[in-house]
Symmetry: C2
Subunit: 203 residues, 2 copies
């Protein structure tokens, strides 16, 4: 298809498509004449991915590029690839100390690498919780640990059935793209509980 059709099918303006090509986020089309290039379904899929990361995840352009670069050229192991993908996700706060996070992680008995971005992200999260006047203690952390371990295990289960390139896409994009669904379902679960149970009796 021509760039105008690619634009029409993706809903993304031609100028933006050209920008993504210049930035190396989208491969050039196959040149068919001096003024014409041909695009295919893979270009369309890539544009939809860029849109999902920019719009639904609201990631800044530099972070979208990091995610795309990982999908295209992953690290040596899924462990390392996932580690890098996580560092492209918010919160981006640089934490001078990660003491509170490490305390929680060790209390929960998780194996971790202290350079892993999620450690600093948990530290930022804990400081945010406390800055808002809310509690973060062993009891609070524990209410999240077992259910999230269950989710994480279920999410990793399909990896075994994927080929290497699918594993990378699944790990990198799954980390980024399932998160908004998790948050939405938690919010819906709160609403369900308030509507069906807690509202009349306890609140």
């Amino acid at each position: 298809m021509r760039i105008s059709e690619l634009s029409e099918q993706s809903g993304i303006p031609v100028a933006s498509i050209k920008f993504y090509i210049r930035e190396g986020m989208l491969p050039r089309g196959a040149t068919t004449s001096a003024t014409r290039a041909e695009y295919d379904e893979q270009h369309l899929a890539r544009l939809r991915l860029i849109q999902a990361l920019s719009d639904v995840r609201a990631l800044p352009l530099a972070r979208v590029k990091e995610i795309l670069a990982l999908v295209d050229a992953p690290e040596d192991s899924p462990y390392a690839t996932l580690g890098k993908a996580v560092s492209a996700l918010p919160p981006y706060a640089e934490e001078a100390s990660t003491e509170r996070a490490r305390e929680t992680i060790e209390m929960l008995g998780l194996t971790y690498d202290e350079r892993f971005a999620a450690v600093a992200q948990l530290e930022a999260a804990i400081r945010g919780i406390e800055a808002a006047g809310l509690a973060w203690d062993a009891e609070t952390a524990t209410r999240y640990a077992a259910p999230l371990a269950q989710i994480a295990a279920a999410e990793l289960a399909p990896l075994a059935d994927l080929n290497e390139s699918e594993q990378v896409s699944y790990a990198v994009l799954g980390t980024a793209m399932y998160e908004p669904a998790i948050l939405a379902i938690r919010r819906l679960a709160h609403q369900h509980l308030l509507a069906t149970g807690l509202t009349d009796d306890d609140m």
Copy 2:
């Protein structure tokens, strides 16, 4: 304390503090003379809250104001207050149809109000997941439902022991501020599983 000390203790520049006061996000200090106002611990707590919402949650100013307004003047019921708080959180995508989200919610057996922002947020999440080439089907949704219901129930349990104003803060700020911790712990659980189990055998 004077505004200079408030700035020092919060790490927020005086100009920003004055801006928050002009925007109605922070109460004025008590006037002690024509050129002096006195601030207290409540001002400091409010500044920390603004910072947590802006930095850790990376919410735009207009959304921070919505959250603060809800804490100060909640709706008639926690159900309605929580509904409004959720609409101040991302993803903000307006979805013309919420068919996919409603299909999931009904499959999961949750009671819901279709105007609740989390419905459109789930729709945006599902579209993002599929735009990234990932699956969203009954099996996928089910892996999240029971663990998140467990988390939601544990989160609502403390409400019963709080007074009305504490309930509002807890519901509104808890919705916003525990989310980054949930995401960080999920990312850490993935790393733990890859490090301890899946890496050698299955990947």
